[in-house]
């Protein structure tokens, strides 16, 4: 069905269509519309689900953990401080191998209070064992959320998935949205280690050194296996519903001398900059990074690379810039831009490309004299 929706509503609609048995809900700007919309779906009977209005994000993730291991599909949504408040349980969900799906509406962290887009919240969960995808459009927010359940619940994966969308610049903007009937694209929830009182087991008890180490390796092994599963699921989605996705979204990269790498809405903004640069004769392309974990292999050989980071690792550098450097050996021009919702236009991105200084780092709009 073709409609128009905000990024938040697209996520909520995908959750309706995925039919989770339990949704844990706690509000936080700019995510709130997701849990409000799901409450409306549940109240109207469009989604038959237990809606748990928890008292904190820590409890939101914990309630999902309890419900997921009890044997139902679960979903929650959060942002920024909410994500940080549940951090302990974010680790727990992955360690417990529970296929929970969570939308994270990317937002800056206080102090000072700032509710605008930034990726630091998601970056701070980098090593939790969650798979993380960043989306750039309303349609993609819907599609990625639906696919997230299938990827997470695949027995070769059994890891939670975080769907990241930029606060306000995607969560609150309206674009066209085509919803689908997932049908058997999403099979019934089946967790091989679900609680069974006929077969009583201890979950997560005291664990010796060797067993613990093996469990950690199992997470990494499944994360590696998830690369193939993600590709399978995205291919099946394309075959069934006609929209294709991959680890990156490439735009005019084929003959490009210089490639812009960014995530989320800045990655879409970069496409406009590419058209502008191409009209000036600059052979530029955009490679919007979709999957942050597992981090994809990137083919960038022989090109200049400009990385725009909407987050930073203090004392070390741009998170994506350093990841690209580590993965490819290429020294990118590292642009730190868009923190706290700072406006970054396609003209600015075109300037980053025109003025690129590979190997250097630039904080957009900040003079070192200040």
């Amino acid at each position: 069905m073709l409609t128009i929706a905000t990024g938040n509503k697209a996520v909520a609609t995908a959750v309706r269509d995925a039919k989770p048995g339990v949704v844990a809900a706690y509000p936080i700007t700019p995510q709130t519309e997701i849990v409000e919309q799901i409450a409306e779906f549940v109240t109207a009977g469009d989604l038959v689900s237990q809606y748990i209005p928890v008292e904190s994000e820590h409890s939101a993730m914990t309630a999902c953990i309890g419900a997921s291991v009890a044997g139902v599909r679960t979903f929650t949504a959060t942002s920024s401080h909410g994500l940080l408040y549940m951090h302990e349980m974010v680790h727990w969900a992955a360690g417990a191998r529970l296929p929970i799906v969570m939308a994270n509406v990317n937002r800056a962290l206080g102090p000072g209070w700032n509710t605008w887009a930034e990726h630091t919240d998601a970056f701070s969960q980098r090593d939790t064992g969650w798979l993380q995808v960043f989306v750039g459009t309303v349609q993609e927010a819907y599609d990625a959320t639906l696919m997230a359940f299938k990827i997470a619940e695949d027995e070769r994966v059994l890891l939670p998935v975080m769907v990241n969308l930029d606060g306000f610049s995607l969560s609150h903007i309206m674009q066209s949205l085509e919803t689908v009937d997932p049908g058997d694209f999403l099979p019934e929830y089946h967790l091989p280690h679900a609680i069974d009182t006929e077969n009583p087991c201890g979950y997560g008890p005291m664990t010796g050194l060797n067993d613990y180490f093996r469990f950690r390796w199992d997470i990494e092994r499944s994360t590696r296996d998830s690369v193939g599963v993600i590709a399978e699921v995205e291919r099946e989605f394309a075959e069934r519903f006609g929209r294709s996705y991959g680890p990156t979204e490439e735009y005019r990269c084929e003959d490009a001398d210089v490639i812009v790498i960014a995530m989320g809405t800045l990655g879409k903004e970069a496409e406009v900059a590419i058209d502008l640069l191409r009209s000036e004769g600059v052979k530029a392309g955009s490679m919007r990074l979709r999957w942050f974990r597992p981090f994809p292999d990137l083919d960038l050989a022989g090109r200049d690379v400009v990385v725009i980071d909407r987050g930073y690792s203090f004392g070390f550098g741009g998170v994506i810039a350093n990841s690209v450097r580590a993965k490819t050996g290429i020294e990118p021009y590292s642009v730190i831009a868009g923190l706290g919702g700072q406006e970054v236009t396609y003209n600015d991105i075109a300037d980053f490309v025109r003025d690129r200084r590979p190997g250097e780092e630039m904080w957009f709009g900040v003079s070192e004299d200040v």
Binding site: G66, V72, E88, P205
Partner: protein, 293 residues
């Protein structure tokens, strides 16, 4: 006692300390609950007592969860079982630190939401698993490893906090009265909605008394009126048998205090303050029972 099932759900060879009363209680809790039950355990002594992977001393599924998270985990589980049409008992078995301190927010939320579960706090009045540091539930004057001179403030009144949520059933119990505990768990599990049982669980290494005195110390807590056994069904108070006598004529408080090393060298004025606390508490219960509150 003949009514108590012979089936064991807490098996032999646990890692509990000698004289551990919380594992004694758990044995009766599980006998009352039966096999269609799931235990949710936050970080506490029971995390250790159940044994080390891949072994388990429990004959029901046990879900271990982070310290602050037990009630929220049970909440999700209970709602999931409802979705699946299962009537499995969801029982939290948590220590006092995980209940009155770090876990109280999740507990309050789960109670307020009307979660269908039974939350049991076994209270050994300190962080036992980490070696007896004070908790909010440590009584006035008790020495712990973080209150070497005795705790300067009174025990947090957890039950009145829970009571403020108006659960359909709440009760206190003590390891020295297992039949009373068994009956209370049975009754709790027969009632839909949030249920709460607060068990006083004396701890030999923490309270510093000989292991064979565990039952005796529990009885002294009740006989001196320091611990009052009661239940509250839909708000209505009923004092339990063993505490009725104590309310009429409590045994001398010194019998209880003097039997425990954690109160060694306690100052007379602190004992006096404790006595006043016990008296006020007993009077409050007596007034409520008499309908004068």
């Amino acid at each position: 006692m003949s009514a108590i099932p012979k089936e064991e759900y807490l098996l032999k060879c646990t890692s509990a300390c000698a004289g551990c009363s919380s594992s004694l209680c758990l044995r009766y809790v599980l006998k009352a609950a039966g096999p269609d039950s799931v235990l949710v355990v936050p970080a506490c002594c029971t995390s250790v007592i159940q044994g080390i992977y891949p072994g388990t001393a429990m004959n029901v599924p046990v879900y271990n969860i982070a310290f602050a998270a037990a009630a929220a985990c049970a909440s999700g589980m209970s709602n999931a079982f409802e979705t699946l049409g299962k009537e499995t008992n969801v029982i939290v078995y948590a220590g006092d630190g995980g209940t009155v301190d770090i876990g109280i927010q999740a507990l309050s939320g789960a109670l307020e939401r009307g979660t269908n579960f039974l939350y049991i706090c076994y209270d050994n009045e300190a962080y036992g698993n980490t070696g007896m540091q004070r908790s909010g539930s440590t009584p006035l004057g008790a020495r712990t490893t973080t209150t070497p001179d005795g705790k300067p403030t009174a025990k947090k009144d957890l039950d009145r906090i829970v009571e403020a949520h108006n659960p359909p059933y709440m009760a206190t119990a003590c390891s020295a009265y297992p039949l009373d505990l068994y009956k209370k768990v049975k009754k709790a599990l027969s009632i839909p909605g949030p249920k709460f049982i607060h068990i006083l669980a004396p701890c030999p290494p923490g309270w510093r008394y000989p292991t064979e005195k565990t039952v005796e110390i529990g009885k002294l807590a009740v006989r001196t009126g320091t611990w009052v056994l009661y239940e509250r069904e839909y708000g209505k108070l009923a004092i339990s048998g063993p505490s009725k006598a104590a309310m009429r004529r409590p045994a001398p408080l010194e019998d209880y205090i003097g039997a425990q090393g954690r109160f060694k060298n306690i100052k007379p004025e602190v004992i006096e303050e404790m006595r006043q606390g016990v008296e006020q508490n007993l009077q409050r219960f007596a007034r409520e029972e008499a309908g004068v509150c």
